[in-house]
Amino acid sequence: MSELPLTATADAALQAAPATKARGYWATVGRRIMRDKVSMACALVLLLIFLSAILAPWLGLEDPYKGSMIRRLRHIGTTGYPLGTDELGRDMLARLIYGGRLSLVIGILPVILAFCIGTSLGIIAGYVGGKLNTAIMRTVDVFYAFPSVLLAIAISGALGAGILNSIVALTIVFVPQITRVAESVTTGVRNMDFVEAARASGAGPFTIMRVHILGNVLGAIFVYATSLISVSMILAAGLSFLGLGTKPPEPEWGLMLNTLRTAIYVNPWVAALPGAMIFAVSICFNLLSDGLRSAMDIRN
């Protein structure tokens, strides 16, 4: 007898459901971030920088490697060289746009790699727990004993200069940070009812981690990882600036800033241009990450 009204309410709820639950979580987040003017402006700037870097060879630019001794360090606004020329007479506009290719890769790739490695390590540590957790998290603690700039420079200084080494060094810097976040959110989820239910219905640990945990923690880890891109861009260019990353004559913003340092007495504003690119990318990623964070915080 008592079951009848219950079913009736359930039916009513089911009928009402399409009206109230119109969108999924990510659709809502997407809609919220689309309405955020600052985030959209940043996304647009980043899109422009990315597209021009990818399409650089087809933009009709000067050869970024071709220098000329007679047109060194031209000022911004010189005809034919809208952003001037560098210390070897190469076109700055072309070098800044081509420079985006390497700069963006060495800045963003470490975060992507660290995101994959750190998320896996953190979820395993958080879900399996016990000795494995202790082993992983205590190792992470050791890396936290180094300030990240020092660690990045120490590793790439020991490995020697080179693009690959600087990517490896930065990945090692970010893995512990992402692992810590992933472990802490996983620990928060692992004892929830739906995980318990999956376990009770016979799902193995790998399936639970992949299907049930990953989906629930990925968002938080992703937002954290996006906030690291800005730091990574600054550090990657910083390594090149020190001479530990890219090698000349490759166009890359950090290295360009380094080689143009000697020109600050002759043509200071041209020398400052590559740093402005790093700053633009870094601040856009920071603001976009902030926007994403508040868009994902649906409760507010």
Partner: protein
């Protein structure tokens, strides 16, 4: 913000002393692991560690002799044990490039870095606290937006580039301040007078922007959280004047804010290499830079070890100080 999300394990501890003891015991394995990482850094290095001293046409015997003299011919664990033992006695070996003891070289350089970090901390923390409080009090107003923009710009700016910009403006264009170095008579004699201080201004401002940004964000969030709590409402309802409310805000925000600032001080000490390179500031970062490019491995090892140990002990100090001033950690 690259700060640690989980800190202050042992909040359940019944008193600060027990917490302190536990925290100190916990530091021992960290210190040993840090030493191991510093030691291993040298051994992942491609090429012969003697390349800096050995002439290119050196004979096999000479190379072997030198290798034995530096102890590079023994098995790795033995080398590590010996190195650690000597390090405990304050002997970090001699710099391959200069032949002088590593410890003395590093300590002299660290002194300059500490000078820079303290000057930057005074600027950055004062600005950060002020901006953070103002932003927290006037949330969602234009004042908040301006303060927050400052904070975001501070954490997003490539600081080595900011250093260059400041040099361009204040040294090259206006000719007000020196561009590089740490004093009129070279780098060896620091003094707290204007002749020396003007060398400190630009590097200190450059170093201060990241802590400024992070402290602003932290203080803003703390202030906002505290002001929206019920007890503040109650205090106001009881008729407490704003200055009294402000006292409560400071009391509640202090432990977390101090912890963040302590960590930032550590980052400034350990992460000064880029700024010291821009300004040729003769600190530990500058030393690290030359150690890397001269492939002076004992110096590289020693500098990293000492900077990391500074950071570890600063973290320890911050955790203990936080436990001592935050009653919630004491009560558990």
């Amino acid at each position: 913000m690259p700060s640690s999300p989980t800190r202050g394990e042992g909040k359940k501890e019944s008193n600060v002393l027990a917490y302190t003891a536990r925290r100190i015991v916990y530091v021992v394995p960290i210190v040993i692991s840090v030493a191991l990482v510093c030691f291993l850094l040298v051994h992942i290095t491609p090429g012969d560690p003697l390349v800096a001293v050995l002439p290119a046409d050196a004979s096999q015997e000479l190379a072997a002799q030198l290798r034995a003299a530096y102890g590079f011919d023994r098995p790795l664990p033995v080398q590590f044990g010996l190195w650690l033992l000597r390090a405990l006695h304050g002997d970090l070996g001699n710099s391959i490039a200069t032949g002088r003891p590593v410890l003395a070289e590093v300590m002299r350089a660290v002194g300059n870095t500490v000078t820079l970090a303290i000057a930057a901390a005074i600027i950055g923390f004062t600005m950060g606290i002020l901006l953070g409080l103002i932003a927290g009090y006037f949330r969602e107003t234009w004042i908040d937006k301006v303060a927050t923009s400052f904070a975001i710009a501070g954490v997003s700016v490539p600081h080595y580039w900011l250093g260059m910009l400041l040099v361009i403006i204040f040294s090259v264009q206006l000719n007000w301040l020196p561009a590089v170095g740490a004093g009129p008579s070279g780098s060896n004699s620091w003094a707290w007078d204007w002749a020396h201080l003007k060398y400190l201004v630009l590097p200190a401002i450059t170093t201060s922007v990241i802590p400024m940004g992070i402290v602003t964000r932290t203080v803003r969030a703390l202030t906002g959280d505290i002001l929206s709590q019920d007890f503040v409402e109650a205090l106001r309802a009881k008729g407490l004047h704003e200055l009294g409310v402000f006292r409560h805000v400071v009391k509640n925000a202090a432990p977390t804010a101090l912890a963040v600032m302590g960590l930032q001080l550590g980052y400034m000490l350990g992460g000064s290499i880029l700024i010291e390179t821009v300004f040729s500031w003769p600190g530990s970062g500058f030393l690290l830079n030359s150690a890397i490019f001269q492939r002076d491995l004992p110096l590289l090892q020693g500098t990293i070890l000492i900077l990391a140990l500074f950071f570890v002990f600063l973290n320890l100090l911050v955790d203990i100080a936080q436990a001592a001033i935050d009653p919630r950690i004491k009560r558990g």
